[in-house]
Symmetry: C2
Subunit: 364 residues, 2 copies
């Protein structure tokens, strides 16, 4: 087991990464002080791992409330949130009830937001079971649900008491979902760490084969990058945490336009990172930026490297609602080079529309 | 104008109390750094005060989004919250948008929770227009909505950047609503300040006449009591903030049983305080506690001094869902004497049911 610490004064917490941790009661025990634990999971994860976690928690002498949500980004909604509230209130869960999020990013975000708001906040443990959530969404305290008018528009910063990542759970991931997780790993390297990018390039076969040794090293490295950022800028009030949104402004627009769930989040982020690189190279005048190298790595990891063919003006409208924007002007994260990103808060609408039109046009 | 400070490290904020503050642009200016202000109010308050606040904010050169909710505790719901989100997203409000809550406790609670959760948190100013919200709900950072299964079950601790209380707004309060505010003033005195209780007894006529001088002094005193408590126990993790719930466990049960809005919150709290006093004197064996004196002060201020005639077991069921409870055992705030309250975390269910039956029985 590897353990990192996310350093946030009185909100610091450990991330445990290792094989078999679902069954390791001692990883959970310090963070369960009440009599009841509410386990939030979904219909895909429940048959695979719920019994294992229930056995672990029951061994600690706790009462368990299980809440099984439907699966998918389209259920990251107020309705799922209310299902959690209703189950917990019906079971008379009190303010010492620990919520465990067992699943991927959607479960972590919804269960985390429920933990932030149930009776004004209860203890919370992340048990991510996808690569995406292990390297990204479980680290940093962002919780949210989607709104009909935009993704992740409603939420809270709320840190877990611990993150427990069992690498065994990655074995059952469908190929597209696994690749989607690798997209965020590449993104972290693109923003902060050229050496890590080169390491990923050198290990695409091992990564695609889900080699346990390579994967453990890569997850820990990616979590470390993100934890360092979160430590410096917990609530995204400085620009550094905003850098983590590389590819996300384009990516969210793609997800919104196609309808949540058509593309996996990481797939949209991969295409979004390529778009951000192309924008940086063209309109941003970073002529030396090797966009082909970026496309090549994503492609080897079975990820898309271009926007889908949708109307440019629709993508623009979605981007104009992004949370990073100030005063209606779009903010983008651009690349100076592989391993170094910057925030551009004044992207001209005309530049952006022309760029989007070039991206979604059929090559002729 | 009187100004108090709620001292909470980097979340400290001023409370301004005075006549004519709705029009005082300088009270708002430091807390509006973005280009847009969302004013959340209701259909009762809007015709009285919205134009005045809009004029003040417009003079600062800000764009205004107005959100007018239906009036009443029965609208302190997820639906009202979503109305705020939808209006703000439609207007493309960004993360620097300041939300102003213009109204009573319901508006403050809902708008405050929207501020806590819109794009994971935006700046927030409380402009309370009722006595209840000026002395109580606007101070301390508790925000919430009701759930079908319980009052204030969903919410967040989220401090405003400022509270601006214009005493002129109290002139238009309906009598029951005004009296409801006085209930919380009495409650603060009952818990912490016997001298203040005596001062209230000596000034019932002036209070009922809404005498400006007495009222200004009383509001400032009551805010000061609450601010001192919040400073010591912001997130209600120690027992001291819990003391502010004197009368509220009984009171919330009354409100839930009758349906939100049948009784004003302060009316339920007044009856709840009397019930807590009677429980303290009887089952709690505080034989010297002068319950009649407490009943007399509430009665002179036109407040109820007994529970409504509803089934005792229904009240018990509501009380068993209270957020203060741990492990299903009811917690009550009891009185040692006028000016001193204590937390009792182990109220036996049989004692409580017998007590409730004695309270709701017709006198024979």
């Amino acid at each position: 087991m590897q353990t990192l610490t996310v350093s946030l004064a009185d909100r610091s917490y450990p991330i445990h990464i290792g094989s078999g941790l679902l069954a390791d009661a001692q990883s959970y025990a310090p963070f369960i002080t009440g009599k009841t634990v509410a386990i939030v999971t979904n219909k895909t994860i429940a048959p695979l791992y719920l019994q294992q976690v229930k056995t672990t928690i029951a061994a600690l002498g706790k009462t368990i409330v299980e809440i099984i949500l439907p699966n998918g980004e389209e259920h990251k909604t107020a309705a799922s949130l209310d299902a959690i509230y209703t189950a917990m209130l019906t079971a008379k869960c009190d303010r010492k009830t620990t919520i465990i999020a067992l699943g991927g990013g959607v479960i972590g975000d919804v269960a985390g937001f429920a933990a932030a708001t149930y009776q004004r906040g209860v203890p919370f443990i992340q048990v991510p079971t996808t690569l995406l959530s292990q390297v990204d969404s479980s680290v940093g305290g962002k919780t949210a649900i989607n709104h009909a008018l935009g993704k992740n528009m409603i939420g809270a910063f709320y840190q877990p008491l611990a993150v427990i990542s069992d690498t065994e759970t990655l074995k059952t991931l469908p190929p597209r979902e696994y690749a989607s997780g690798l997209a965020e790993v590449v993104k972290h390297a693109l923003i902060f760490d050229a050496d890590h990018f080169a390491e990923l390039e050198a290990n695409t076969d091992a990564l695609n084969a889900r080699d346990a040794t390579v994967l453990t090293r890569v997850i820990a490295h990616s979590c470390k990058i993100k934890a360092d950022v979160v430590k410096q800028d917990e609530r995204e009030t400085k620009d550094i945490r905003a850098l983590l949104n590389l590819g996300h402004t384009f990516g969210h627009a793609i997800e919104t336009e196609l309808g949540y769930g058509a593309w996996f989040h990481g797939e949209a982020v991969a295409a979004g990172c390529v778009m951000a690189a192309q924008y940086s190279r063209g309109i941003g005048k970073k002529a030396h930026l090797d966009v082909l190298r970026i496309q090549s790595l994503f492609a080897k990891l079975n990820l898309p490297v271009a926007a889908p063919k949708v109307p440019a003006k629709n993508l623009l409208a979605h981007m104009q609602r992004d949370k990073k924007n100030e005063g209606g002007v779009v903010t983008l994260i651009l690349l100076n080079r592989i391993g170094e990103a910057i925030v551009d808060k004044r992207v001209p609408e005309s530049d952006l529309l022309a760029f989007l039109e070039s991206q979604v046009a059929d090559p002729t």
